[in-house]
Chain length 280, copies 3
């Protein structure tokens, strides 16, 4: 947190139109800077000056089908770390085709809800636990129909897969593990070896649009200055502490969002460091 606030790192986002403004404002409130791009030439040129990148597959347009796999491939070829939010994984042929293509050019961190994590693990053939009936685990639109516990196996499998793939293809130190963050009542963050559970936050975070999307953006902001696990843990903890502050000072979803952005700005690194983390 200190490093982000001191260096205001740039994290670039290719994200959905619903919450694109909140993603940028959350990144700024957390202490970073933001740039949003959609054209492959824009994304790749901006990636060269950005510390990390974020891809969120909500609100697809026709040209994304080719653009997103190309961007993922080029980010990985350039060894640029990136965060994926596989919004609504399992819904729509185009989204499925894009998410399947990411298997060969995987992200550094995945941030999603439980249903999306399970759907993505199934799609990539990694989820041996619940292989029985993948169709049970399709999200209800953008909302999760599964609880975080039930996504533990899928999250661990995905984190291991990301780490393996980056060790194979990356010039980075192969010992840096990738990470998966599953948002829910008690968030789960894992590097494929240890599973961390983070409680707190506010139920109002489900009554504004983009709490999850913007968390993905802030994970990218942290990823610009730290390893994947630290980025996923820090951003998730900041979100929980900020959610609690906003909960006590707001009177509905409108004032909650305002108070939440203020809290992202005002919560201290010390408050985040004092968070309780359950190691499973």
């Amino acid at each position: 947190m200190h490093r982000v606030r001191e260096t205001t790192p740039l994290a670039q986002s290719f994200t959905n139109f619903v919450t694109i403004n909140l993603v940028a404002n959350a990144q700024l409130a957390a202490g970073g800077t933001a740039a949003m791009s959609f054209l492959p030439d824009d994304v790749i040129e901006t990636a060269k000056i950005a510390g990390a990148n974020y891809i969120n597959v909500g609100t697809l347009l026709p040209f994304y089908k080719d653009a997103l796999p190309e961007i993922a491939q080029r980010l990985n070829y350039l060894d640029k770390p990136w965060v994926l939010d596989p919004v609504a994984a399992g819904i729509g042929r185009t989204r499925t085709s894009i998410l399947q293509a990411f298997k060969a050019a995987p992200p550094t961190v995945i941030r999603a809800n439980a249903s999306e994590v399970i759907a993505l693990a199934n799609m990539w053939g990694l989820n041996t636990e619940s292989a029985g009936d993948a169709s049970e685990h399709r999200p209800a639109g953008v909302e999760s129909v599964d609880d975080v516990d039930s996504a533990t196996g899928a999250a661990v499998a995905l984190a291991r897969y990301l780490t393996e793939q980056h060790a194979k293809h990356s010039s980075h130190d192969a010992s840096i593990p990738c990470a998966v963050a599953v948002s829910g009542i008690a968030d789960l963050v894992t590097d494929g070896e240890t599973v961390y559970r983070l409680s707190g936050g506010s139920s109002m975070m489900t009554k504004i649009t983009g709490a999850g999307c913007s968390l993905g953006g802030v994970v990218a902001t942290y990823l610009a200055v730290s390893d994947p696990l630290t980025a996923a843990l820090s951003a998730s903890l900041l979100y929980n502490r900020a959610g609690e502050v906003a909960d006590t000072t707001s009177h509905g979803p409108g004032s909650f969002q305002v108070a939440f952005l203020d809290a992202l700005w005002n919560v201290t690194a010390e408050q985040v460091a004092e968070s309780e983390i359950l190691v499973q």
Copy 2:
């Protein structure tokens, strides 16, 4: 209102980029859930799990010209109820081509301003009253240049047309009438038989962008759990009551929007039920 808050129904939106965030946040604040899509495969697959859908024709992109008529046709083929906001009806060849195509695959509810309702009725050949000079009734951009009274005939004609068409083609009970809601100083809602007038709200609703667009989204949220007339009336009444609350607690358009979202969350079904409705 009780049913929405108890069941948090999903209403899907294909809407403009200016107010897409407010549409989603208003649907959440009213008690529903939101999903936004643009690709036909996304929209149709999400429609299968959504209670209702919303199409708003602001900020068109090139691919909408084919996508929107296809989506309307498939929603109707699948008997999925949907709300249309014909933003800026009358402006631009592409918008006109899309709105004309909707005549053959019409929505369940139309929510618009007076100029848009008149322009759409003219476009569909339904507005016998003012057939003299259709070009007089083109909106000044996205703002209405006509008052609500002058749109009464067009609104009634549109509501009857929607009801007739759905009775012909739908497997639903043919006795459920469709509805048209015209926003203005005193809103008008009609099922083609009775004309209801709803007063109140706040003049500040014209000083934030998206009061009308997001009302269309909340009509869709209510349409997910009720008949078209009830959905149009309830959402319009909620908006007027919430506008009044926000008016008294805000100091300009910034704080008005925040207070308005809080009020959508906090206004009770009883407050809405006590609203005065003028039956014309």
Copy 3:
């Protein structure tokens, strides 16, 4: 300011998806009305009823490459005044191709940060001062890496070029100069003859996304009722005064944005008129 608040002029925007909502809300809060369009037929038909137009080249989509040059050409052919925000000038082949095309169909006002102004002047072959190494002046994403002082020569050269071109091709009075506004710690506004420097504002304006983008929109709102220099000066001064008010009444970037929109609505023409302006 009085004229805008009395006549609520329409300014149309073709702008990026990150801050499109703030652009519209800022235009409404300043007293104008807003319409956002992307299709050439929409933009041109709306331009016929709008007082001024705004083009912002953030978040490009593939079809913009042809659409934006066509729109600029048609706006100029129709003698419609427009404001350009050359967001991230210098990044990406598509953006460069679009901005180069604008040289032949230039805007009436440019509103940008220092790096973008320098990059654009270099791109158009106008910046003799720093011709040595254009690559030094590429913006760090959407943030400026140059200070306002260093953009003075580029801003003056651009303003003169715009004025010359419009004098050649326009049917307007050739004596009306165009303007360039460079945002930074002390803003710079010039008509190519006089350089005005405007201090004040708030450092929090860099901690919300879209302060610059929405200023471009409000310049267009003012341009609908005044000459380019007056529009650029008035909008920039309003932004500084509103930023100061919001600074004292907010507790972080969330409440700053809310207070800022309120202040755009509440700051008086007299407060703006009392602003100190340094003439260089």
